[in-house]
Symmetry: C2
Subunit: 260 residues, 2 copies
DNA sequence: ACAAAAGTGTTCCTCTTACACCCATGA
DNA sequence: TCATGGGTGTAAGAGGAACACTTTTGT
């Protein structure tokens, strides 16, 4: 039913070929102070590749799933959550991105037989809470400060760096920040998140003015409890206002949204 | 040297599998008035799939090249140009994105044998001129108004729409506009390009003010000749100023570059 | 009382907007 | 002389930047 014809191929150095396709996910979370990323372990030792070597969660793509489905499968496995914000970043297709030894490890671990693995980078955003942390801990995963990540296996450092850059770019133009916060959050939390992700500090009064006048968050009337300072009000994200604002502003007033 | 171990796999419905990987490129050009995209023909008839069916240029990835290399190979084949601006957009990995008949066509045409083709979308930007147009015409390709493209094969309409959306988003934040213009261009050309790509109209005086005060273009002192109106000055893009401006502005003054 | 974070206003200034006419050239 | 696009200035308003103190709560 599919293909039955195979052209006789000369033994050139470059031929059309099949690749194993995988996804690797940089899963970000925010603990109120710092941006965290979820790391797992290699799990299976192979020669001098240690079982403890840290890596990003990932998986091979299955026969009848799309790449985002594969990424969601990985996220569900390690966090227990469905419906996570997920965004594809780059594709890592260098034929030599994986060393021969790593290639052997992959084939052994995944029970496949291939000469090349092309991987697709994703970043995912989760609302961190104690439940998730307990879950990921049981799975042998840990949440690490993004700034302090070192020595991931293969090209996972590069995949992570790319994911972080994509998140930084996106958080200033789309409301992904709210994917990292609880449904109800304080303005202080929101500001800290921006500061942590973009790596800057923002004047509190100006921040409040801008975020409140934009209308994309609404006060709930609820306040923090049992905090040793003046309790902050909780706000919620206002999706409809955001989309309206984008459509009104972005197209009609191009020159205003134009940042050279 | 690579893998020699293959785990016995149970015959589940979803198994890890290999895919053929392809690239498809939306190649954009600007003729001074409208945004154009390069279309080619299917070329080989197969049953009711006609040789004239329009499609985006694309190719299977070869064994020892990366995806951007494959995309560049396609561009060189159809335009004769190297060093074209190239940007990856999305991956199209739906297992059913290609019908069975198209799948047969692919296998036949490419002389491969696979059950699945995952394709990676790219958009490319070229400086249109008569030389290029002659070249692409000899290759059987044509430059079509983006707005009037209809009925591309497989999911190429979707790939094109995605590429266009990516270009629209990018042109307002990075200087890709200059990839679509000759080295020396008039301010009018630049403005028309923005208008064509984003689909808006811009006040000429305000546009000049903003673009000139940004410093990212510099006058050459040369003027149009043989035009039946006041000759316009030619300008060139000023790369260094652009990068300096981005670094100064974007990080330090986040709140200003923030568009909710 | 004190520590810790919440919350609030104003001034200055830059940038955006809206808008209309004369200029240089080729036909 | 006419048609075509090139090129210019200003005033009003909006929004960003910089800046410090009072409030509320738990300990």
């Amino acid at each position: 039913m599919y293909c039955h014809i195979r052209k006789a191929m000369t033994n050139t150095k470059s031929i059309e070929t099949s690749s194993a396709l995988s996804v690797d996910c940089a899963v970000f979370g925010f603990d109120g102070k710092r941006l965290k990323v979820l790391l797992i372990k290699r799990k299976y030792q192979y020669d001098d590749l240690l079982a403890d070597d840290p890596k990003l969660p990932g998986a091979m793509i299955l026969e009848n799933e799309t790449l985002p489905e594969a990424a969601n499968r990985v996220l569900e496995e390690f966090t227990g959550l469905g419906n996570i914000y997920l965004k594809q970043t780059k594709i890592f297709s260098n034929p030599h991105r994986v060393s021969e030894k790593e290639m052997e490890w992959i084939c052994r671990f995944h029970g496949i037989n291939t000469r090349r693995v092309v991987t697709v980078g994703y970043y995912a955003l989760v609302k961190l809470n104690q439940g998730i942390i307990n879950y990921t801990t049981r799975k042998g995963a840990r949440w690490v400060d993004v700034d302090s990540v070192r020595n991931l296996i293969m090209d996972h450092m590069e995949i992570l760096a790319d994911a972080l850059a994509a998140l930084q770019a996106e958080i200033t133009h789309t409301p992904v920040a709210f994917e990292l916060l609880p449904k109800k959050f304080t303005i202080h939390q929101l500001q800290s998140l921006f500061e942590a992700v973009v790596g800057i500090s923002i004047d509190n009064r100006n921040f409040r003015k801008k975020i409140l006048s934009s209308g994309i968050i609404s006060p709930t009337g609820e306040f923090e409890k049992n905090v040793s300072h003046k309790p902050a009000q909780f706000y919620i994200f206002n999706k409809t206002v955001f989309h309206k604002a984008m459509n009104d502003k972005f197209k009609l007033n191009f020159i205003n949204n134009w940042t050279y």
